[in-house]
């Protein structure tokens, strides 16, 4: 096989995911147009059929996610992508996919809600992404890239984790990450070496006398509980092994910023501005939102005086931060909603205020 030269390309985040997915050997992509993720769908439509896969534009997000169910049930590498309202429509199907333990990659390029909302970037689908989203006890592995490069990297990672744990993996991005261009280098990826054999359970036609059935119906409560126990065991395993995060300047930090995705980039800028003023600020960035780095954040409470969580929503991840921190240090929140992006200067203002009065604001 001819080795591809890894070249630096200027690309939109949406396109980077599509290109990485094709390089990771995605066999089928099913999707439906919605701003701000449509470039992903369009890239797939232009490229996938001639590069070894199948592209199909579905009649709705509901149909798309169920096509993913069907194709993933055959043990093939499959994916879909959408933006917030479309992701809501997919929730039923995702619950089935999680229950049936079908590996697949999902992408939500978030926009501001609720309702039809706006097409501008937001992070207001955090709860939906990390707490299950659909009905029943399940979780997705949730990866939160903060650059176009990571949009590509996490696509490979997402497929691999999906295969390894037989579970749906979600890339939780936002409109800005999807639309912006940054340089990206596609790492080498050996499709053959990374291929996981799903033939023991996939429905590909009955062979060797054994019928394979993909189902999520286990009508006897005791049997359904066994399925649930198995899923929970898998999630515990994921929580043990797959937590990813990035800590910046936390060693001497007095105020710790916690942010993920695009807001972690903005928070980093605010950190630079604050450091220029002599304020000792650090940044902790969860990369996996599920599993969430509770322990790692809790450990940092021994060092820092207070925490400021920055999000593009009304305060969602901050609940997990408070769960991690308890009463150990005050936890503050700064967020903008509806597609408005918080500015570094606004965060700096908040940092200044906390440095003077670090006690917790009343939340209830």
């Amino acid at each position: 096989m001819k080795k591809r030269v890894s070249e630096k390309i200027l690309m939109k985040g949406n396109e980077a995911i599509a290109e990485a997915a094709i390089r990771a050997g995605v066999k089928a992509y099913f999707g439906y147009p919605i701003t701000p993720q449509s470039e992903l769908l369009e890239y797939m439509s232009a490229q996938l059929n001639s590069r070894g896969g199948v592209f199909l534009q579905a009649e709705s997000e509901v149909a798309a996610i169920n096509m993913v169910y069907g194709a993933a049930g055959c043990g093939e590498r499959v994916m879909t992508s959408t933006s917030s309202p479309g992701f809501s429509l997919m929730q039923e199907g995702i619950s089935y996919i999680a229950s049936a333990e079908l590996p697949c990659l999902l992408v939500n390029v978030q926009r501001g809600g609720p309702g039809l909302g706006t097409i501008q970037p937001a992070q207001s689908d955090y709860f939906q992404a990390v707490k299950g989203g659909g009905h029943g006890d399940y979780n997705l592995i949730v990866l939160a890239p903060n650059s176009v490069q990571e949009m590509a990297n996490f696509t490979y990672l997402g497929f691999d984790l999906a295969d390894q744990y037989r579970t749906p993996v979600l890339i939780l991005a936002d409109g800005a990450l999807g639309q912006m261009m940054e340089p990206v280098v596609f790492p080498d990826y050996d499709i053959v070496k990374n291929k996981v054999d799903h033939s023991s359970w996939a429905t590909r036609g009955k062979k060797d006398g054994k019928q394979h059935v993909i189902t999520t119906l286990h009508i006897e409560p005791e049997k359904m509980e066994i399925i649930n126990n198995h899923l929970q065991e898998k999630y515990r395993d994921i929580c043990d092994k797959e937590i990813r995060f990035e800590a910046t300047k936390t060693d001497d930090a007095e105020i710790l910023l916690i942010a993920y995705g695009l807001s972690s980039r903005i928070a980093h800028h605010a950190l630079e501005l604050a450091r220029d003023e002599g304020l000792k600020v650090g940044l902790f960035r969860p990369i996996t939102l599920y599993p969430f780095p509770y322990r790692q954040i809790r450990a940092l409470t021994k060092k820092v005086d207070s925490i400021l969580t920055v999000e593009m929503n009304a305060g969602q991840m901050v609940e997990d931060v408070r769960l991690a921190v308890g009463e150990k240090v005050p936890v503050h929140f700064y967020g903008r909603t509806g597609g408005v992006i918080p500015q570094p200067e606004e965060i700096l203002e908040k940092i200044r205020a906390i440095s003077i009065a670090p006690q917790m604001e009343k939340i209830f």
Partner: protein, 183 residues
């Protein structure tokens, strides 16, 4: 060295592609770059803008609210971005499209008749390259070779024969930068 630029005008004036060319040129010179477009209904006939960051170091936030340079191609964008230029920064605007010029006195303001010049070059669509030339003439952050290389990436293959005329436009823009009508 960090450059934060906003380019704004009507859809169809080449706003997004100008920014893309600049970003690609920065990447050719191994800078960290980002290009962030406005998107959605604004792309369909209304105003369009993009921000470009060129940095010798890693870019932290691709989202910025104040700019070293604003390149303004229509009146609504002037209203939107004049106040967002950093003190000591610059506004480069296209003469034909601006009836009410900016009034700030703490920034450099350049009025470039890029439309007229494009007509002189006999191809209207290079207006954006003339303005880009002016920007590079004033801010020699990138070599013209890098921009030409960028054009091979930004322009679809069927338009590569237009690169020489784009080069002419860039050079004309750079000339205009040396004889600006500073207000």
């Amino acid at each position: 060295m960090k450059q934060e630029i906003v380019i704004a005008g009507f859809g169809g004036q080449g706003v997004l592609s100008m920014g893309m060319t600049l970003a690609y040129g920065g990447m050719v010179e191994n800078k960290d770059v980002s290009w962030m477009p406005s998107y959605g209904p604004e792309m369909r006939g209304g105003t369009a803008n993009c921000t470009v960051i060129l940095n010798d170091e890693k870019i932290s936030s691709p989202i910025i609210n104040s700019f070293d340079t604003a390149i303004i191609l229509n009146q609504p964008s002037m209203a939107k971005f004049e106040s967002k230029v950093k003190p000591g920064g610059q506004i480069i605007y296209e003469s034909n499209n601006i009836l009410t010029p900016p009034t700030r006195s703490d920034i450099t303001i350049l009025d470039i008749p890029a439309n007229k010049e494009a007509v002189k070059l006999n191809i209207k669509r290079v207006m954006n390259m003339i303005i880009l030339g002016t920007y590079l003439g004033l801010n020699p952050v990138l070599k013209i070779e890098s921009i030409l290389k960028a054009l091979t990436k930004v322009l679809p293959g069927r338009h590569h024969h237009l690169i020489p005329i784009n080069q002419q436009a860039l050079e004309r823009g750079m000339e205009l930068a040396t004889q600006p009508t500073i207000m």
